[in-house]
């Protein structure tokens, strides 16, 4: 179950400069845990003190915002791309 994770600019210090890394996982939560295990620091950056995704962190599985699905329990199919995108944009 390999998933491609797209890493935003400021977090590429955690991945040795890579904008994409491959990790294992079947849900968004599992993928992000695996990401943190392989490249420590992601959990601290992405989650607040209550263990929820931070307000200005958007996570997409393919084209879909996980907040419209099952959040961290959203399934991530094998071979799919998970994107971590800063929410600061818009009109």
């Amino acid at each position: 179950m390999s998933v491609t994770v797209r890493v935003p600019t400021t977090l590429r210090t955690l991945t040795g400069g890579e904008s994409e890394v491959a990790v294992e996982g079947a849900t968004v939560g599992e993928v992000l845990s695996a990401l943190d295990a392989a490249h420590p620091g992601f959990v601290e950056k992405l989650f607040d003190d209550e263990g929820k995704l931070r307000r200005f962190v958007n996570v997409f599985v393919a084209d879909d915002d996980v907040r419209f699905q099952q959040g961290l329990d959203t399934p991530v199919p094998d071979g799919e791309t998970l994107s971590i995108i800063p929410a600061v944009a818009g009109g």
């Binding site: 200005f56 944009a89 009109g91």
Partner: protein, 430 residues
Amino acid sequence: MSPSDRARWLSAPGLACGVAVRCNGGVSAPSELVCRACGTPSATAEVQYCAACFGPVELRTDWAALAGTVDRAAIDAGRGMARWSPLLAVEPLGGDALGDAPLVRAEALGEQIGLGSLWLLDETRSPSGSFKDRVVATALGEARRRAMTVAACASTGNLARALAIAARRAGMAAVVLVPDDLEPVRIAGLVAERATVIAVRGGYDGANRLASEAAMARDDWAWVNVGLRPWYVEGARTSGWDVARGLGWRLPDHVVGPLASGSYLRLAHDALGALAATGLVDEHRVALHGAQPAGCAPVALAWVEGATAVRPVRPSTIAHSVAMGDPTDGDDLLAIARATGGSMVVVPEEEILAGVDLLAATEGIAVEPAGGVVVRALAQLAKSGVLRADEVVVACLTGAPSPDSGASAAAGPTATIDPTLEALEAVLTE
């Protein structure tokens, strides 16, 4: 901020002079980049979000420190939004020909809905037809400082038009990402301004998400409402300052405006308090009221529920210019409305065009549907007694309607794509 970053930052034009000594006639206000959510100073001017919490990075100006350095007469003598340069963190590009939206006394509309001192900030008179000229001017002011040559954005239409016109005048290329259901006449207008128009499937939120990714891949481009967002939102302050100046250098009791991302209304309102801190107007609490159409009302729904955080929605509204389901500034607006005695209002979709018509009939001002939302919100607030007849109320009309659809719409977008970086790269490298 590291010493080397700070040195580079401070060496930027317009930021090199201190508060007391104004260089080159006093171009811009000294300011620093700080995360609005957690207060962490930004270590770099290259990223618009906080390295610690992903929150929005914005320019923070010490308004009180500017007291005594600017006076009303000098501002009155200036031209366009450039008159506000001493208070802005960036010199707006072409600012002497933009801004100055008239603040008009709306006696006929006020009489209809029961408001005795109603004023309208008519941003429809801006060169591109919306307030977006202001925010583009400040963003491109920063882009010029960085010698960027391509201007880009995601837009529901108004921003794309403002960007296309400003970029063409500045000799920059323009790349605009718009929803694929944008009216053909608006797309044709962008093509006529020589913009590269990419229609993106998935509505504005799809285009916006793609712009966020593309801004990371092409950070040498001036993505005005993404990478340059701290400078972009700064331009909205001038709307607030035009309100205060239009009222004869005083603050209103209420400001009512539409909200999409919410940045316009938040910054225009914030600018009023800032102006008081500089001593240019007397302190006065200004209640902030936001208006949203029922088909896209995430902030107003949170308000009704008494929530402090906004949950995103999937938009379905005729007011396309405010169809943003995931408003960046939503949580802040809820807090500001609460702190100032303001409110958030939901306007039923079926009332929106009646609002547009009422404004045209009473004041002769043509607005896009978002303006109809504001007019109906005014009527609701007046009827419920939130706005009283003897109070000074300012409503912001942020954009003009689409051009007459009878015009030629022959020119289509350069391409229509799915909201993926691969698709965008394929189009742009063709």
